[in-house]
């Protein structure tokens, strides 16, 4: 029995772990909980690696499909089935690998929390859902995972349920995600209507076989492909925190930090990118939507980056950074460079998970403090964290040699290809990214400690269970970039690997068309901008200046700073134009339509009937002469009626 046939175990094992821990309950020894919680994703990782390895070496067909059972049968047949193709293989690897290490990290980080077992139930559940998402062989299984990860996100953000803020943030995340899911669902409906199936391969085969059919006008002035692509993309903006649905992600930092690392940086939020790439056949036939994707991506990237500049909460900075980096991925996808988007997805998973876990280590050491203004000078207390964090910063800043450099460079190349403005925005964002990341870095690790005495007293390096994942991920953050596009060398292992999935695009060939000079210019510009950002950060925050540079900056442009710190007031804006009107409408429905119109008219009707009866009652006067008169007059009236 080959490991490939055990593919179904990959998502199932985490589910089993969750179920087991759920049944065992909180009263069993912590070690047992930990064992179950780590064994499940660990085994899943091993099975995934084995399966991918076998598959890559020619066991089983390409792509490999495993049908478990029929979720729906005739007339609409939908299987619960898994698909192993290059794309899902990459995603599975990223998810299981990063996921496993974050589990390991969590065992240390969450050790003292009250709901330890509950945490791991959720986390395992999340792993299962995420794997469902990436391994699904049809839109439905993906959607199950898609919503499932949303649920886990809701539960994990609201992990500290007895406080006020986390449940609120969880709810916001779930609802905003649902708005995206709504569009996603509509896309699925259209697909079923057209193709009668949700199977990826069948749909894409049909699309490729008759591309013109899907390009005819369908709805909203869009072609069918455009309509579906738009729907999927709106879904993706929800899940992947793009404009306009990005607002939930910064709030989601209310959850435990490893959760932020796993869900809100490395895996779940990239699901949107995954789905766009997965459906690239449709996107490719809808150029107008591709433009939308690219523009939204670029806009999100720069918007989030600018907000990130003015944040003080270490996790918020990272959150906006994540939003921004996700924007990059969409920029790549929108530019038609799907493999590059996946490439960045992978590298980002490593370095952003690293950064989050690093920040978690910092917060852990700081006894829960997240405000960078109270940190500083942690370098000497947290050496491992410091160095690994530096790797992450370098990677995200796009310093050559680190993972981020390669992927970011590939994206900017693709953007250049698409439109120079996109490239310009991307490059600008790269600079800002480098700046705020190193602002964070310097504020946290350099200068003097600005926290309380007590915090200072407790400062310590994290346990091995936490530092080990940091090291592993740091290694990944350095080397993950080498699998993809390497400038000046015509090598793109990942691109080739993914080629069957994005075959109709052939971006690698386009990339090669850049002249050598152009390529040098593009690489140079991005590196230069990155270094400039780092330099600025160093000028302002490095050199032991603590908060002086920040204060100067705030003083220089107080309004801008306030605007940025308040995230451009987008939450307030949404509240004013969406939430409040909707609540108003709902209140009107209830108080006016329901209570006044419907119930009111029923009551008035009942009242009128009763009133008629009550008035009519007085015809029975009790005076028998009246009764006789009724008889007599009625008699005459009937007679007249009968005769005339």
């Amino acid at each position: 029995m080959s490991a490939l046939n055990l593919l179904w175990l990959v998502p199932l094992l985490p589910f089993a772990g969750a179920a087991l821990n759920g049944v065992l309950g909180p009263r069993v020894p912590k070690a047992l909980t930990t064992f179950v919680a780590l064994a499940a994703p660990g085994a899943s990782l091993l099975v995934a690696l084995a399966a991918i390895w076998q598959w890559w070496h020619g066991v089983g067909p390409h792509p490999f499909e495993q049908v478990l059972y029929a979720w729906l049968r005739a007339p609409l047949h939908i299987d619960v089935a898994f698909l192993l193709d290059p794309l899902s293989a990459v995603m599975t690897f990223v998810v299981t690998f990063v996921g496993f290490w974050i589990h390991v990290y969590s065992a240390g980080y969450m050790h003292h929390e009250k709901g330890y077992q509950r945490y791991f139930v959720y986390l395992n559940l999340f792993m299962g859902m995420m794997l469902l998402l990436v391994l699904g062989n049809n839109f439905l299984v993906t959607f199950v995972g898609w919503e499932g990860v949303g649920l886990c996100s809701y539960l994990l953000i609201g992990y500290y349920y007895d406080q006020d803020e986390p449940p609120r943030a969880g709810r916001k995340a779930f609802i905003v995600n649902r708005i995206g899911d709504f569009a996603f669902l509509v896309g699925l409906f259209a697909l079923v209507q057209r193709f009668g199936t949700l199977d990826y391969r069948k749909i894409f085969a049909a699309v490729e076989a008759a591309p013109h059919a899907v390009q005819a006008t369908y709805a909203l002035g869009l072609s069918f492909a455009g309509f579906v692509a738009l729907c999927l993309f709106i879904g993706a903006t929800g899940k992947s925190a793009q404009v306009p649905l990005y607002v939930w992600l910064p709030d989601a930092m209310a959850g435990p930090t490893p959760v932020s690392a796993l869900i809100h940086a490395a895996t779940m939020v990239t699901a949107g990118v995954y789905i766009v790439v997965r459906a690239n056949a449709l996107f490719q036939l809808a150029p107008e939507i591709l433009w939308v994707v690219a523009i939204i991506g670029a806009f999100t990237a720069v918007l989030a980056a600018t907000i990130g500049v003015a944040q003080y909460d270490i996790k918020k900075v990272l959150a906006y950074s994540t939003v921004s980096q996700l924007g990059y991925m969409f920029l790549a996808a929108g530019s038609g460079a799907y493999a590059v988007a996946i490439f960045h997805l992978g590298t980002h998973a490593f370095f952003k998970a690293l950064l989050f876990l690093g920040s978690g280590s910092v917060i852990h050491a700081m006894s829960g403090e997240q405000d960078m203004r109270r940190m500083g000078g942690l370098k000497k207390h947290l050496p491992i964290t410091y160095w690994t964090f530096l790797v992450g910063c370098l990677a995200i800043a796009g310093v050559p040699g680190f993972a981020g450099f390669f992927s970011k460079d590939a994206i900017l190349g693709a953007a250049w290809q698409a439109h120079i403005a996109l490239w310009a925005v991307g490059t600008l964002t790269a600079g800002i990214t480098a700046f705020y990341m190193f602002r964070l870095f310097f504020m946290t690790f350099h200068g003097n400690f600005r926290g309380t005495e007590e915090q200072h007293h407790h400062l310590h390096e994290s346990p091995a269970s936490m530092t080990l994942p940091l090291i592993v991920l740091a290694i990944g953050a350095i080397f993950a970039g080498w699998v993809g596009v390497i400038p000046f060398l015509d090598r793109d292992w990942l691109g080739h690997f993914l080629a069957p999935v994005v075959a109709n695009v052939g971006h690698a060939a386009e990339h090669a068309e850049h002249g050598l000079g152009l390529e040098a210019f593009l690489v140079g510009a991005s590196v230069l901008v990155g270094l400039l950002g780092i330099f600025l950060a160093w000028r302002l925050y490095g050199r032991g200046r603590d908060l002086e540079g920040e204060e100067a900056l705030v003083a220089a442009a107080p309004r801008l700073h306030r605007t940025l710190q308040n995230k451009y007031y987008v939450d307030e804006l949404y509240d004013a134009i969406v939430v409040r009107p909707l609540a108003w409408l709902a209140r009107m429905c209830w108080k006016v339509i329901d209570t006044i119109f419907i119930n009111g008219s029923v009551h008035v009707g009942a009242f009128l009937v009763e009133l008629t009866g009550d008035l009519g009652r007085f015809t029975t006067t009790g005076n028998v002469r009246n009764y006789a008169l009724y008889f007599f007059t009625a008699l005459i009236a009937f007679f007249v009626w009968l005769v005339f």
Binding site: N623, R625, L629, F632
Partner: protein
């Protein structure tokens, strides 16, 4: 001659009928009713029904109206007092309605039977023997029914109007007004 008798008694009956209806004193009304009944009895004779006329006088004027008078005296009911609820609408509607009814019915009958001529009175029609034969053969069932009817009337009147038995009034019934004075004797048992 016949016309004259008819006219006199017709006018008499109508006139006293009006008195019956409008006179405020029930006793006077009842007495006027006697006149009406007599007048009608005369008309019955004119119509060739002397037997019925006789019964009319005996039963109606002789028994029924006496019963009326008796009860009126017994209850000592005087003239209608003006107190109480006046109902002018009732009165006017009744008047108009009745006028209409009389006019319409009269006109109908007039129209229908105005041209009719009467046959001469036959002995058969006048024969009381034949009448009683009819009564006990063809109309046997109604006759028996009337018998039962009268029995019922006796029992019913007794059941309603007899004075309360000594034990009956305890416990005092809420809502019942004070009992009648003792001198109110049993009435109404005797049907003619």
């Amino acid at each position: 001659m016949e016309v004259a008798i008819f006219s006199i008694f017709a006018l008499l009956s109508v006139g006293f009928a009006i008195v019956v209806v409008v006179h405020p004193q029930p006793v006077k009304s009842t007495m006027s009713m006697v006149v009406v009944l007599f007048s009608l009895a005369v008309l019955f004779v004119l119509l060739g029904a002397p037997f019925v006329a006789a019964v009319q006088v005996l039963v109606y004027a002789g028994a029924i109206l006496v019963l009326f008078l008796f009860v009126l005296m017994l209850l000592n009911i005087g003239r209608e007092r003006a107190a109480g609820v006046g109902q002018p609408a009732q009165r006017w509607v009744a008047l108009i309605g009745a006028a209409f009814f009389a006019g319409f019915l009269g006109m109908l009958l007039w129209r229908t039977h105005g041209p009719d001529t009467l046959d001469a009175l036959t002995p058969d029609y006048l024969s009381i023997h034949r009448l009683s034969w009819e009564l006990f053969t063809t109309w046997l069932l109604p006759f028996e029914l009337v018998g039962l009817l009268l029995l019922v009337a006796v029992v019913a009147a007794y059941a309603m109007a007899r004075a309360p038995q000594p034990g009956e009034m305890t416990p005092p019934q809420a809502g019942a007004l004070p009992a009648a004075p003792a001198e109110v004797a049993e009435v109404g048992g005797e049907a003619p």
